[in-house]
Symmetry: C2
Subunit: 441 residues, 2 copies
């Protein structure tokens, strides 16, 4: 039985898919918090590249991937799509399970797909340095790598608790030549404000975002880069779904269910959007399942409203699922899923009934991850393990009903940096969150 | 310019290459230390599978890979071969540099190539459990993975200092369902002997080997597995070189130099042996360069003689390059290269003048690894980084002479488990070994 579907490099897709062209209504625009009016795109030029701002509102169905980006993608793309033969056997399910694996990228996750694109456009437009925030470090290491490739400097504000307790991704960033600063830092007014109140602050993603944005606004030649949520980030990630479409065709399949984990929504969006387009075209009913941690249940327990993207209220207001921009999730291991908001595109698709969501406890997620690792060999990143566990549950349902569902999992990264968390799980030291930290909205 | 050469899965080689068929003279046999006579293969049945013992002395040029092994190989094989375009640019060299990358395997190195084969044969022959030793854990995690795939139990004796200080690969083994015991342990006479002398012993690979062998000899249904040195291990690793041959053909190239790191020699042998065969057939002059750490310079400073494979003198005597079976190398980070001996096949090829060797200091190796990571994205395992550094030196020489050498590097694994070592390097805390710990032989 065929187990790996490897797209020839010649067939690497050359266009990203822009779902804005195919939505029944346009997305509500980001608002300037002072005026409550739509943000003037020009105001965003202080932060983002001209090209990414244009992509943010483009309604072109396809956008060509520049050759300079394709050249870097070819370091690891196309990524493989696997049939989970051993997992199917273990679950004794009639379901056919596939997974699209992004862990073979240089930094071990899907994040470089947009990091490379953003760094490329900045390089072309003359930016000298990029700055960003990072929690555990998946995004920061991806941007560090991308900046180095294009000869840009990179400054990463890393949440202090991760900087100190999870140094390995920090070192990875430094190997790629980035400057990594623990946040809160004395470099910025935002950082100094926090340190004045609490010199021992361990930081938060919200503070780190504020520091990165402030740096970008104040230092000429330095711009800001965001790793999720925004339309252009999801756009760049559609390379994942476009490849997976072709690979599922090689397998002679079209999925009944596509499952991915959601933090800000870029991994999930990148995988599902091309399938959303094709399902419409082929009039196929496909279930798109977003999996979030019950510790940070933006879709299943959040509200849909305008909210800030960051704690310090420096970003425009964005209409999205939100747990409130001051929400601080419990310290679960899947750091990449600890975001209070959601990509507006995903929020829109939830409202349209296209995307369903489910929230899982991390103990259940780890159980699924270990089963997967034992069957398929790959140890999933904890974020990706959320999708794995949800897919296992679906496949077990099929074992009961006899349904031959085709399930596609987005396996967004490997877990080689997550071994301390696996240790806590194996040693029974992980608490189960019996109740969600968020009361029912 | 084409950057990745991805072999279609249909072209995964179906045979291993056995170099014993093509050596001008047969290798001196292993000796029983008590009698100094060649070891009776039957005596080895207490440790190894019948099939592997047969492979150890076979002179068939090709040995079919069983379908049950191929099926597991397909989880990650064929692995990619890359042209190091960015590295070439950085070095401004006319050399064309390629690397064969084994880091996409489930455990991140080349070790599963033989682990899967060994576990498969044991499964077929009715073995219930395998035991082995591991230092930092590359081999132990590969065998744990392979055992789980075939439903065998796995017991790994892990050198205590690594067990305590480098827990991540231990956890990986446990995720794959293996039992991991810090060595020296009270489980074995060998372990108890050491603990009686020194209850705080941090262990050594030599002691761990003794414990694994003793367990295998004493417990019915349990056999032993070795991850390097032996002929059948190099045989299984030739899958790497066979793929690389086809991929270099896709690139329209045949290498002038093939460079790999050597610990026990299985990664290096697996890569070069198929090229050795083809170079002979095509009457091409190819340089095969083995790179070792100056902390453990088996080839460049060792003697060629009969010696034990382990510290406790439980193995047969093997004729090989050796630093003496009681040699304890300084604690360098590339744990996989800290072995006193060498695969007899490699020793033979050095004697024949086919293989050359060079020894590098780890500080130089890290410098090369960081240059490579910045250009190619992949952070090399420290073992593999030895080959990378040697290749960089060759390419720099080409920049001076103008030679358009084709250089093929064996990149045997990723460095995502080596970040603490990269930190030590970046922070300038790595000592340079100004003199080798071994006096000139």
């Amino acid at each position: 039985m065929k187990r790996v579907f490897q797209l020839p490099q010649e067939e690497l897709p050359k266009r990203w898919y822009n779902v804005l062209a195919d939505l029944d209504q346009s997305l509500p625009p980001p608002l300037d918090p002072r005026t409550q009016e739509p943000v003037d795109p020009k105001a965003l030029l202080a932060l983002f590249s001209r090209e990414c701002i244009a992509q943010e509102v483009s309604t072109d169905r396809f956008i060509d991937i520049p050759e300079g980006v394709l050249e870097v993608y070819r370091l690891w793309r196309p990524t493989p799509l696997f049939r989970a033969v051993n997992l199917e056997r273990r679950l004794q399910t009639p379901a056919r399970i596939y997974y699209k694996y992004e862990g073979t990228s240089p930094t071990g996750s899907h994040k470089p797909n947009t990091a490379v694109a953003q760094a490329y456009y900045h390089k072309v437009e003359g930016t000298k340095r990029l700055t960003t925030e990072t929690g555990a470090g998946q995004w920061g290491s991806a941007l560090s790598f991308a900046c180095h490739v294009f000869g840009l400097k990179c400054l990463v504000y890393m949440v202090r608790v991760s900087y100190e307790q999870k140094p390995y991704r920090r070192i990875m960033m430094e190997v790629y030549g980035a400057e990594v600063v623990p946040s809160p830092s004395p470099n910025t007014a935002a950082g100094r404000r926090v340190l004045a109140e609490n010199p021992n602050s361990t930081g938060s993603l919200g503070i780190a975002i504020s520091e990165a944005i402030e740096t970008s606004l104040n230092e000429p030649g330095t711009k800001y880069s965001l790793g999720s949520v925004l339309n252009h980030v999801l756009l760049h990630q559609t390379i994942v779904g476009e490849e997976a479409l072709l690979q599922m065709e090689m397998a002679g399949e079209f999925p009944h269910v596509v499952v991915g984990c959601v933090g800000g929504g870029s991994n999930f969006g990148g995988l599902i959007l091309p399938f959303f387009r094709e399902a419409k075209k082929r009039q196929r009913l496909v279930e798109f399942l977003a999996v979030e941690p019950i510790a940070c249940p933006s879709i299943t327990k959040g509200e849909i409203r305008y909210d800030y993207g960051d704690t310090a209220e420096l970003t425009p207001l964005i209409r999205m699922h939100t747990l409130g921009h001051r929400f601080v999730p419990p310290p679960i291991h899947a750091g990449g899923l600890r975001y209070h908001g959601m990509a507006p595109i995903i929020t829109h698709l939830v409202e349209e009934g296209v995307v369903k969501a489910v929230a899982l406890d991390q103990v259940d997620v780890f159980e699924g991850a270990v089963v997967f690792a034992q069957c398929e060999g790959i140890i999933p990143a904890l974020e990706s393990a959320h999708a794995v566990r949800a897919a296992i549950d679906l496949a077990r349902d099929c074992a009961k009903t006899g349904e031959e569902k085709v399930i596609l999992i987005g396996l967004s990264g490997h877990g080689h940096f997550d071994m301390a968390a696996y240790r806590d799980f194996l040693e029974g030291r992980l608490p189960r969150l019996t109740t969600s930290p968020v009361s029912q909205a």
